[in-house]
Every structure is written in C-alpha cells, then in structure tokens.
Symmetry: D2
C-alpha cells in the first residue's frame, strides 16, 4: 500500500502572494494648493509569484524600501512597482499606501477646525498594465435645519462617512474628489428640502431619519457617472449616528437607461 | 439644448449592497468539549439587492436581530439568512460573525495560560446555495532550541499568526482545525531540525531566521490539501517578530503534480 | 579617582509595579435580571512590591489565573486579590477586568436594538483595605426635537458617551447606574425645553449646539451627589458629534453650598 | 417637608477639566540631524478651571488651534499654553501631542529597515510653573545568540517595548533618549553573558527566558539615575513575546544607597 503521508509531503504547493505589511514611513504627496504635502503613511508591499517560483527574497522588499532614503515620494509609485516586479521576478507587484491628507478649508461654523483631515489610500498594481486606485474617506457633516425660533441651521454633527474608491482615466486631484462629494452632500440637502426626485416630500413624513446611506450613495454615484475623467468607482456610505453602523455600497459605472 | 443636469438626475443608479455593521451581541457557539460555548460576537448583516429594488427597509435588519432574544445561537445561522433573504426580498443574504473562541489546553510550559484564545469569524452566504466560510486565527508560538548548557528548549515566543479560512465539505470542529495547524507547526520544527524536503540543511546556515512565512504556509497547505473534508481553503501566515510584518498567502486546492 | 560607572551599577533600583496585561478570558458577572451574565473580559493583574523585594515570580500570576478553570467568577474578585497579595508577597494587589455588558431594553424607536451594550471595567485593589471602582460607558443618544410638520422627535443619534467611575458605599447594580445616567439625560432634555436652572432659555438662542458636555456632566454630578450609596465618583462626558471630541470631567463629591 | 429634588438641583457642581481631544494635525518637531522633522500628530487640549468658573468657551480651543495655520511648530508649545491659560481664564493649561518620530539608523542586519519609527508624546502643562514630560516608545529588539553550528547571533525579534517618560532639567534630544535606552539593552546582553551583578550566571539555568521586564527596567533606571540632565523619569517595560503581556514599572529618581 502506498504511503499517503510521504506522497503528501512532495506535492507542490505554491504561494500566491508574499510581502511586507504595516510599515510606517514618511511620505510626500501631490497637493493641489501647496504642490507637495508631507505626511506619514502605512505601507504594504507585496507581489504575486509565478508558479515556477522557488523561494522569496523577502529582504529585497526591505532593500527597495531602504532606497526611499527616509521619505517616499508618491511620484515614484510606478517606478517602485517596476523595480519590485523585476527584482522579485513577479507576475504582479502591489503597493498600498495609507495616509492622512490635510486640506485647508473655510470653516463652515465657529466651532469648525480650519484644516480637514481625510484618510486616503493609494493602491498601485503593476502586471501587464499599471492601475492606480485612489480611496478617500470623506466625513459627512450635514447641517440640520432645526426650527427652534429663528430656524437657523444648527448641530453640525459627524453623521457618517463616504468612502470613495476611484480609478481615473485622467488625473484627478484628491481635493477635487473631496469637493465633488461635498457638493453632493450639500446639494442633496437642498434637493431634499425642495422634494427632488429621489427625496419626495413624503419621505419627510415617514418618521425616519432625513438622511439615508442609500440616498447619499446614489447621489454620489450619479455625480461620478457623469464625470468622464472617472473610469471606475465604488462608493461605500456609512451612518455612524445610530449606535451601530448602517451602510450601502454602490459600484459603477452601471449600465444606464436614461429616463429623460 | 438638452439639460444635462436634469438628465443626470434621472439616471437609474442601483445599490449593490446594504446592511448594518459592527453590532456587538452575545452568541452561543458549538464547542467540541462542552457542547456549547457562550462568547461575545461582532455582527455584520447585509444583502445584495436585485436591480428592480426600489428602497431598503433598514429597520428589518434590526427586527430580525431583535428576534435573537439576547443571544444568537449559531445553529440558527442558515435560518436567519433565509429570513433576511425573504423579508428584504434580496438576491443574496450575508451574515458575518466574529468572536473570540476559547479552548482549554495542556500548558506547554510553566508560563503558559491553560486556556487559549482564538479569534474566529464565520461568514454565511445564502443565494441559490448556502455557503459557510470559517476563519480562525491560530497564534504561532514556536519553541526555540537555544543551546546554552543543557540545550533545553526555551523562550516560547509569540512569533506570528496563521489566519486560516476554510469552506468544508463535511462539518469540522473549530478545535480540529486548530489542532491541524498546531500539528503542522510542531511537525515543521522537527522536520526542520532533520532537514526535510522543504527545509534543506543549508537553510540553517544562511544567517536568516529559521522559520519563514512561506514555509509555514506551504506546510499547512499540504496538510489541508490532503484532507477530504476541506473543500476550499486560504492560508495567510504573518510574522510579527521583525518590527514590521512579513506575510505569505496561499489558496487551495491547487492543481497538483504528485512527484512521488 | 573613583569609578562612577561601577558605582552606578551597584545602586539599588526598585521596581514599583509588575504583572501581566491584556489577557482575554471568559467571565461571569452579576446580572440584576438574570442573576448571572456570561461575557468575555480583558484582564490586567499586577502588584506593588515592597522595597526589600528581590525578584518577581511572574509565573505565579499565570498559576493564579489558571485556577479560574476557564471562567472567572466576578464574585471571587476579592479572594483572588488576597491570593495575589499573599503569594507574590506584595504591598498591594490589583485586578482590572474590562468587558462588554448587555442589558435588555425597551426599544425607544423602531430602529433601536433591543439589547444595549455597555463597556464596563472593574478595578479591584487590596492593600490594607479593599477598594472596588466600577466604570461604565453609557452612550448618550438624545432625541432631537426637529419641528418639521408634525414636530415629532426624530433622528436619535449617537451623540457621545458618559464614562462613569464610581466607588460605592453599598452595592449598586450596573443596571442601576446606567438607569441613573439615562434618567439624567432624558430629564435634561425636558428641563432644557422648559428652561431649567442650568439651561436658561437664552442658551437656545446662542447658536451653539443644544447639548454640551459640561451641562450633562454637571447634571449627572448632581444626581450622584444626592445618592448616599455612592462614596466617590468621576464623570467624563465626551461629545463625538463634531468630527473631533469635546469633553468635560467632573469628580465628586464636591464641597457643596446648598443655595435653596 | 423640604423638597430634596429642588434642593439638589441648586447645588453647585464644578467642572474640573474641559477641552478637545483626538484632533489630527500636521506638526513640526525638532530633529537633531535635520533640524526639523515634519510628521502628523494627535492633539488633546484642555484646561483646569477655577471654582468660580461659570461656563466654558469651547470654541476658543478651536480658535487657538486655527492660529496654527496648518502646521503646529513644537517650539510654540509654551506660547500656546500661555494663550490657552489666558483666553480660557484657566488655573492650568494642558497640551498633549502624540506623533510618530523617525530616526535614520544603521541597519543592524540585512532585513532591518534603515529608518526607525518611535511613537512619541509630549505633555506640556502650565500652571504657576511650566512642565514638559516627554514620552518615547523604544522597541526592544534583542539579538538572540542561538548556538547552531557557527553560533552566529540570529532571529532579531520584536521582543517588547520600553516606554520612557522623562522630565528633563536641561534639554535632551529625542535621539539621545533613544540612544541611552538602546545602549542599555545592548549592554545588558553583554553583561548577561558575562554574569553581571543583576544577572548572575544561575539565571541562565533557571529555565526561564533570558530577558525579563524587571531586569531591563532596572538597567534603564540605573542609567537614567546617573544622568544629571534628567529630573524625573518613569520606565515601563513590556514583553510582547508570550502571547499575553508582562510588564514592570519603575519611577525615579529613587532614594539611593550606594553600596560601592
């Protein structure tokens, strides 16, 4: 009888993905207003290996990292991927870079901080082609119109987040993606008060919260679908204001039937 | 001229995924030794919606959750998915349940705690079929053989983790998956000291650490490939001992060419 | 000339505190409704050592922990501290136990979960005396009265948290502390709408948010000061709704001048 | 009969501490090699209020923060505290700033990253006097001398952390504190192998791990006690290598009896 145990030990089993994770490193990002912004990033570097691959040279990831000389310049993202792919003899190379990005802003009320923090992530992939996915977390801070006396907008709460992932056809600034999302959130509220298509007046009487993750996701989805610089997108909206989180996810572009 | 803005507003955009996240709730899990184990879980509940879908009834998730009566029994996982799918009129229903699971164990040395904590996750999906993916985080705590005087094994350090995901053909206890992984890690060390196939003696002289994420992933991969109760698996091994993390991922089953 | 280096090496330096941290372990807590509640806790165990102390027996912490036999019964808290103090020959012994505690509750609205999660912490200290500090995190979920049409209360958001620490004179149930805090938060809103002492009507016109961390901390402080079962307390209220956190801390009892 | 309820409501209850927390903001720190280092910090700003205090002006924290103009220069720490104290009419002002700090370093082995990350925290307090406490987390990465064949040092693992808090008499660079700690950890291992005072040879035979949190804390404590630039210190050493954490805390300076 054949010895299954020894047979098993000689089966060829291949690793699909190998690399390093959770490396904190200073980074320099393109900034629309200041040209460059220095911040601190968390890095993941990994490769997909071909089947014939015999052993990883893990130290090569660190050698490549050590070429950054104390600060990673995001302009070199593609070059680094090429070097990773070549030196590790890989089918594809991945670089994930996560960092807080800061944008100066006109305070919307007296208690607002004049600089906004947006958690961003870039995921660059190089196989036969080069792809870059940009992810941005845009906090949703709606104005509530509470009619007490003067009816002034009050209580600008941190309602939730829109986590946006886009792959662009033509370069788009982080600031411009944020602006698109914030336009939608602001616009939505006006629409809502006027009873737009998605927010018929009856919504207001339903006894539910005025904002919903689905409505916001759809409104951002329409905005992105209309922008020809955006090739693909994914939108995840979450509502933190309930004690638990509700969320809705929408990917695009979608096949569309214009109804007008 | 046609008004692009209003046209845009009428494009149909569909939500793909909607639900609730990060709900902490008591849970009752099947336990090989004690029949039942009470622990605390983090829940995500969400559905994929058909295209014609018009609006979500978010409160139905909470109504279903409130039927648990203060403790979720993991035996009801499929029933809950069926109810979610039906009541939310969904294409597919998802339930993700993450919890610490405790297993009594013979302490391997005088400083070891007699109860091991394993972070587990179950992801149940119901579309036309029912699928369950079980994920278990098994800490890797190798014995190091430091030859000082008596040459006794010392310094049982927390080297890293093997994060195992399996989809089983026939039911497997959490305890048995853990045992398989711990057998491999123990076995590996013996093989290594004897210079097994994957760990030729030259490895020892290379000046690198004795254990590697690739070797451990492959050894577990061979073990799982040989187990007919396991339909599919994914193994991610991470090494925490370097200040940064190194990791290797291996999915299976793989097409195999037995060389023996 | 005297050798400073060798002199330095012989200075006596004493350790003040030594122990183990971050051990996850099942725990059984007293429950007002169900008598006992099973949950999962994070443990810290440590001792303060006398000056003459020569070396710690770190393994004794684990030996004591291993006597729990897979589940720590909170009723044994003082016994464990006595054993720690004796076996480690310590001046004082500390046990910190942190766990989520669940309370069934009447849902306040259709989207509310019928079981509330309250993060709790017990810190037992035994030196010459025995002290127990109970800490509870009570989420603040106010009803907002938005006057749109029917003027019904809407948007029950997760505004912030009241983190309560009390040392009691006579035993108080976790449930009763939570009830006291929730009474205050509910009561406050009514007071506010009627222009109570702390919330004069002019507040409403100030253009600031209706709730403030100071007002809530003071209202809870008054409630606790009036309860003779509470020996000492500390109240930290935080507001999460602004994007950043605002907070106020109030300790008691305070020397009081009754003005009525 | 007197109405206790209304009496209670008029008791004066004072807030002790009030402020803002968890604000992420770019920061510029003094760097020994490069003069200045740009990194990203988490800010807490709060004040202690006098008893007569009637109401906080929470928006003043944000006004002060907004004067930073997008980057906080750590040289202004004391100025900011003075402004906080004055504008909020406070008894004392606190500023806590936490940030990753990067130091280039000669890699100790081929897998080491050429830039080290040290989590730092500065806590400035201004009451009648000005105090600054500097906290640095120094990872402990010992070389293990594993005698297999050539007996070369191997397996440079992340064993644990030394969390150092110091209040200095004369300015000390972050780099110099790190150097002192790393000297001690390196020195310790040599001492140990030679059987120094604190590490008698018998230790090696005890079957326990070679390093202990107590020994490392005491060795750093002796080093700091001998440095006249350091006014006060607290050392917390934690060992992460066991699956749970062990730790020892030592404060100084201690009354000392030189034995040589």
């Amino acid at each position: 009888m054949k010895d299954i145990q020894s047979q098993r030990d000689h089966r060829r089993i291949n690793i699909q993905k190998v690399g390093v994770k959770d490396i904190t490193y200073p980074v320099m990002v393109l900034d629309k207003a200041k040209r460059l912004q220095r911040t601190v990033a968390n890095f993941n570097m990994y490769v997909n290996l071909p089947h014939r691959f015999k052993g990883t040279h893990m130290s090569r990831f660190i050698e490549i990292l050590n070429q950054f000389h104390g600060e990673f310049d995001i302009k070199n993202l593609r070059l680094i991927l090429e070097e990773m792919k070549m030196r590790l003899d890989a089918e594809s190379a991945h670089l994930e870079i996560e960092f807080p990005y800061f944008v100066k802003q006109r305070p919307i009320h007296s208690n607002a901080i004049g600089i906004g923090e947006y958690q961003c992530k870039m995921h660059g992939v190089l196989d036969e082609n080069y792809q870059l996915v940009l992810q941005i977390n845009v906090p949703i801070v709606p104005l509530l119109h509470i009619q007490n006396g003067g009816g002034l907008p009050q209580f600008p709460g941190h309602w939730g987040n829109a986590v946006i992932s886009i792959q662009y056809r033509n370069f788009i600034w982080i600031e411009d993606v944020i602006q698109m999302v914030e336009d939608v959130i602001g616009h939505r509220l006006n629409e809502e008060h006027q009873g737009g298509e998605d927010f018929p007046p009856t919504d207001h009487l339903s006894g539910e919260s005025l904002l919903s993750v689905e409505k916001i996701a759809k409104a951002i989805g329409r905005k992105f679908s209309a922008n020809s610089d955006i090739l693909r997108f994914s939108i995840s909206v979450e509502n933190l204001s309930e004690g638990y989180k509700t969320f809705a996810v929408l990917d695009g572009p979608q096949e569309q039937t214009a109804t007008a």
